[in-house]
């Protein structure tokens, strides 16, 4: 596979198929389309992981547009791709994790590391810092001093919440709100 270095992609190695115009058109044949969506899924995962990108906006994301072709993935195709990502748990609708009502299908939280893996990272950090049994603020996990230098430092709240909910499912954390409505987590 010959990789092409894009000027705007810094050092990200785009796969060869990124240069093929059909790649930017949703394929009508089901089998071909499945393959195409799978390739897109891999590309998005690698791209976001490389750039430490958590949220992509379906309408804005420059990845969907190849200036050198010039081609871009039409919106319907982006939507189909997004649904493909969500059903294969490679992404979440970013606004769905927090607000349950009428989520706008626009911002995609890309899971280049699975929710479970993020949960593992948080739990590992909590264990290493002897935070098991103690209370932390959700905000503190995102930008607190204790979380500085961690992989999840600066991650979107939606991702952190999803990971904490995973920990809650595993009975390793309890998410709760204080009397003043502050959101916190107690590691177990």
């Amino acid at each position: 596979m010959t990789a092409v270095v894009m000027a705007d992609g810094k050092d990200f190695q785009f796969p060869a198929f990124y240069q093929l115009p059909p790649f930017f058109t949703l394929q009508p044949h089901a089998g071909v389309r499945a393959k195409q969506l799978e390739l897109w899924k891999q590309l998005i995962s690698e791209y976001c992981s490389f750039h430490r990108l958590f949220i992509i906006n379906l309408t804005e994301e420059p990845l969907f547009r190849n200036a050198s072709l010039p081609r871009q993935l039409p919106f319907e195709a982006r939507l189909a791709l997004a649904e493909h990502l969500v059903t294969h748990s490679a992404a979440l609708w970013a606004d769905e994790v927090e607000a349950k009502e009428a989520p706008k299908k626009e911002r995609l939280l890309v899971l280049w590391r699975s929710v479970s893996a993020w949960a593992d990272l948080i739990l590992q950090w909590a264990t290493e810092n002897a935070l098991i049994g103690s209370v932390e603020t959700v905000q503190g996990l995102i930008d607190g001093e204790a979380a500085q230098g961690q992989e999840f430092y600066g991650a979107p709240r939606a991702l952190i919440m999803a990971a904490l909910q995973e920990l809650q499912r595993r009975n390793r954390a309890t998410i709760f709100r204080s009397s003043t409505g502050a959101e916190g987590v107690k590691f177990l």
Binding site: T137, Q139, E145, I175, F176, G181, L188
Partner: protein, 230 residues
């Protein structure tokens, strides 16, 4: 899901979260807020400083002085924020330490209670002394029983020994008779029909004992030697 629940019943914490945890969460949330405003003030201060620098360059002294005053105020507020944060951190640390201390005391309490319970089960010094005495008695009795049993066994042994020596005698007797068979028979016990005794030396001593036994039981010596060579 847990969040929705918490929103509806604010006062009711989920299981394994108590009021202390909630209070601690409030403290930490406040610390986070302070940290955020501290960051904000820092940014504003540096911006004001930047503005003042450009205004000075442009020669606008009054405006520059105003910007500097803002800068100074923001810096002071930022420092206040940092002080608050430090105080909160200290408080949080001492609360967590106090919780640990409480945990230690609780652990001690349960430990002491357990110790007491075990000692109660043991039943005090008197009980132990009584038990030790009883153990001695029981041991003595056991030794007596053992001695008794050993004595009975001795009786058996004696019986066996006497039987053994009797058998030995008989065996010796039979060898003697063999010798007599080769030489002219003189002993009264020897019957004339004990001629084929020549074959008896070959079998092992066990067989010999058996043979002698059989001989004593049956009394007929003629039949036994015929069995041996088979």
């Amino acid at each position: 899901m847990g969040q929705l629940f918490a929103k509806k019943h604010k006062a009711e914490p989920p299981p394994n979260v108590d009021q202390d945890d909630m209070a601690l969460l409030d403290l930490k949330t406040h610390r986070d807020k302070l940290q955020q405003s501290s960051r904000k003030l820092e940014q504003r201060a540096s911006k004001s400083h930047e503005v003042a620098r450009t205004l000075v360059a442009e020669g606008k002294k009054t405006q520059a002085m105003l910007a500097l005053r803002r800068w100074e105020q923001q810096k002071r507020l930022g420092e206040d924020c940092q002080n608050h944060i430090a105080r909160l951190q200290e408080l949080i640390a001492s609360i967590e330490m106090a919780q640990l201390t409480k945990g230690t005391v609780d652990a001690l309490k349960t430990g002491v209670a357990m110790m007491k319970r075990i000692q109660q089960d043991i039943g005090g010094v008197d009980q132990v002394q009584r038990l030790l005495g009883e153990q001695e008695e029981v041991q003595e009795a056991q030794q007596e029983i053992a001695a008794m049993l050993a004595g009975e066994g001795g009786v058996e042994d004696a019986e066996m020994l006497s039987e053994f020596s009797r058998l030995q005698e008989e065996a010796a007797l039979s060898t003697l008779t063999k010798a007599d068979a080769e030489a002219p028979a003189t002993t009264e016990t020897l019957a004339p029909d004990t001629v084929p005794v020549e074959e008896t030396p070959q079998p092992v001593s066990e067989d010999k004992v058996e043979l002698v036994e059989k001989a004593t039981v049956s009394g007929t010596r003629a039949a036994t030697p015929a069995l041996v060579p088979a």
